[in-house]
Subunit: 442 residues, 2 copies
């Protein structure tokens, strides 16, 4: 691997202590506990269970301190000892440390008191939480000697893999369903990867990629590199804990696609407790799905401990996974933390996007609209206490799914460049607003 | 003003020292030096020159230290003593502290050695440098008692004003030219402001807004609040100096629209020297324009010290200002720093967008494409030394100007969800790539 890595300028802390280099020790099956070396493996050879990265937590406890983390880079790499890479120069394009915004205006509208938005709609470089997992996966891919990287994606992952591969100088081939939003396709092609548009849904794309992973020597970030990749999502737990002043929230609401994100936020919180960075606390985990693809919400409602696959049909394409790999783990977490899993329809999703934009100035994509609509539904049903410190995770940017809101946000008032033309339009706007307001009262 | 302000969670440093509250002392005319109180004024009553904020630099020198800044919020507000607000709770939605990326792959492609990209394509909340100026302007607007805010915009400013006004609970009415890119219109409407689409170019929009500012009691961020607003751009100078390890670069390349950004980066560097945060150094300032709207580049080439207005006709709409308010100041800075001002055509702009995406994984809008294309032109003409530490300012995100690249970035390869369909497509892709490569050699 002669490829020189470019890295972000972090004037404060370029040095890394050698003792952080080996805090992860290998892979272990989540089902049967069989252990494996830290290679490009993702399925247990014995029981076909998913593999997860193991850490040496006693070493970790000695290595990490709040002060050391705070002095680290302004990116996910401030938590490097908790991430499964060995490189001295992980790929750092500024990913992570997105704002945790106190959402007072949205909270008032919903009737709760302590609401925060974790805003990955402005994550770097490609405006979704996927930049976290891809930064970790591609760093590990380079360590394992891969020169071509790939993924099965509902859009955001393709954007992120293509962009970060371009920066790192890796060859890239991504797979997407053929019916994705225009912004997500263009936002992938611009980085010049090879793009395969598969005529089928995400679950079919995913199955095809599993076959390709077996026949080509490529690093699929969410298949053969999945154990490393998914660890990147823990940083969404770490950052919230740090940004709340080194404490855990009472309740979190996050979207559910494969279910992986949900489980990794949970793991992130638990690891911080385990190494003594935050105090132990019962955090409730609630999940959000779109009605058009809600296999986990259905299982939750029906009290099942298994997830029955569905055929997706929703505008929330980025979370439209009908056969979620980590669905049962998400179910388990929601139940044991006294949380909930709810689904909302496409109209509610669009209303959720508008509500967040109008109250907080954050423009999210359909997945974020799903989260906000479910947050609202949970509050209205009394399933979120008004006093709970609640964090809603916004995972992607609305500029990528413009189709979803086009036609329901009105049009500009067209005027001539003259004062009287403006005054007439302003009168019209005020009349319309008054009508709107009267209709709201009715 | 009963509106409670929401602010970002900054666990480390919520406290503010009282001595930082009064470092700006009023306004002064850039032309005749007449002084004014710090109100909503932008033009000198005596000579019609532009007004600028004055600071007490001797107090500033005592108040600011590198350490204090580094311990501040991860946003533009870490430089609060250099910004013209008095509030204890400025509007902080995470704006600023965007990555300064060492662009080794782009540098190699261009044949230079020390290139950095200051990446405001991922600025928060609306993905352009305008979030900096609007955060300052709306904080000041609230201090001055405005309840409705407004702007004349080429797109990015409208996005930013609408979003941050929504977050702060201010009424908002924005003015844009009627022919803007779809993403910029939608990315404004989503926040529910009143949007006036003016049938004319930006210069006509701007003139109309000057009239409206006189007849309505609104705070126009870039008209009656312009002296405060424009100071926000200094943070693009401050951050680069801090991120380079508290030193100035040798050369910067930035886009020129009104010319204000250029002048404020210059002012930012000079203020850091003045208060002793960095050592004095000759920094070369080069500016980028689109050929379809290049009044400043034309004046530079012809050796004029005045700017002749033009009618804009370019895909780089966000910098299409035919009558640039600060054009003469930009000319002066480029000349006295031994810099250059160049223009590139629309084809070169699109190539610039693609080049940055392919080499660095950054997707910028047309203004950023202009900057990269001019950077390339300057290197090829020997006007940037390969050894100079050069910073190119990327000011906005490509997802807002998708029209500009649609049709020139290829299409995905459509396949069935079957291994043999994929293999055939991959062969096709490799053949095409080989052909591409052979054509490049010819």
């Amino acid at each position: 691997m002669t490829q020189a890595l470019e890295s972000l300028t972090h004037p404060q802390t370029q040095t890394r202590t050698p003792e952080t280099a080996a805090t992860f020790t290998g892979l272990r099956c989540k089902e049967c506990g069989a252990e494996y070396e830290a290679k490009a493996l993702h399925v247990c050879e014995l029981c076909f269970g998913p593999l997860e990265v193991m850490y040496d937590y006693s070493t970790l406890s000695q290595v990490v301190t709040r002060k050391r983390i705070e002095a680290g880079p302004k990116s996910i790499w401030r938590y490097r000892p908790f991430l499964p890479v060995t490189s001295d120069t992980p790929i750092d394009v500024g990913t992570g440390m997105t704002p945790l915004l106190k959402a007072n205006r949205l909270a008032r509208r919903l009737g709760i008191k302590n609401l925060y938005i974790k805003n990955d709609a402005v994550n770097m470089p490609t405006l979704s939480f996927k930049d976290r997992v891809v930064s970790v996966a591609l760093t590990r891919a380079q360590e394992l000697g891969f020169t071509t990287v790939s993924c099965a994606s509902t859009g955001n992952l393709a954007n992120s893999t293509a962009a970060i591969a371009a920066h790192a100088g890796l060859d890239c081939c991504v797979f997407i369903p053929a019916d994705l939003e225009a912004g997500k396709v263009l936002g992938t092609l611009i980085y010049s990867p090879t793009v395969m548009a598969v005529q089928g849904n995400y679950d079919q794309v995913n199955r095809l990629c599993s076959e390709v992973a077996n026949t080509h020597g490529w690093g699929f970030v969410n298949i053969n590199l999945r154990p490393y990749y998914s660890e990147g999502s823990k940083t969404l737990g770490f950052e919230v804990a740090e940004q709340l002043g080194w404490q855990l929230p009472d309740h979190i609401v996050a979207p559910l696609a494969s279910g992986s994100l949900f489980g990794k936020i949970y793991k992130g919180f638990n690891e911080f407790v385990k190494v003594g960075l935050v105090e132990e606390k019962a955090v409730r985990f609630s999940g959000a799905q779109a009605e058009g693809c809600s296999p986990i919400a259905q299982a939750f409602e029906e009290g099942r401990d298994f997830v029955t696959p569905v055929k997706p049909n929703t505008i929330a394409k980025s979370i439209a996974i009908g056969n979620p790999a980590d669905g049962v783990y998400a179910l388990d977490i929601a139940r044991k933390t006294n949380g909930n899993i709810e689904a909302v329809n496409d109209t509610e999703i669009v209303e959720g996007i508008k509500l967040l934009a109008e109250t907080e100035g954050i423009f999210t994509e359909t997945a974020g609209g799903t989260t906000i609509a479910v947050l609202k539904k949970l509050v209205e049903a009394g399933k979120i206490d008004p006093d709970e410190t609640t964090v809603a995770y916004i995972t992607g940017n609305g500029l990528k799914t413009q189709e979803a809101v086009q036609g329901v946000i009105g049009e500009p008032l067209t005027i001539d460049p003259k004062l009287d033309s403006f005054e007439r339009a302003l009168d019209r706007a005020r009349t319309l607003e008054r009508l709107d307001w009267q209709q709201t009262l009715v």
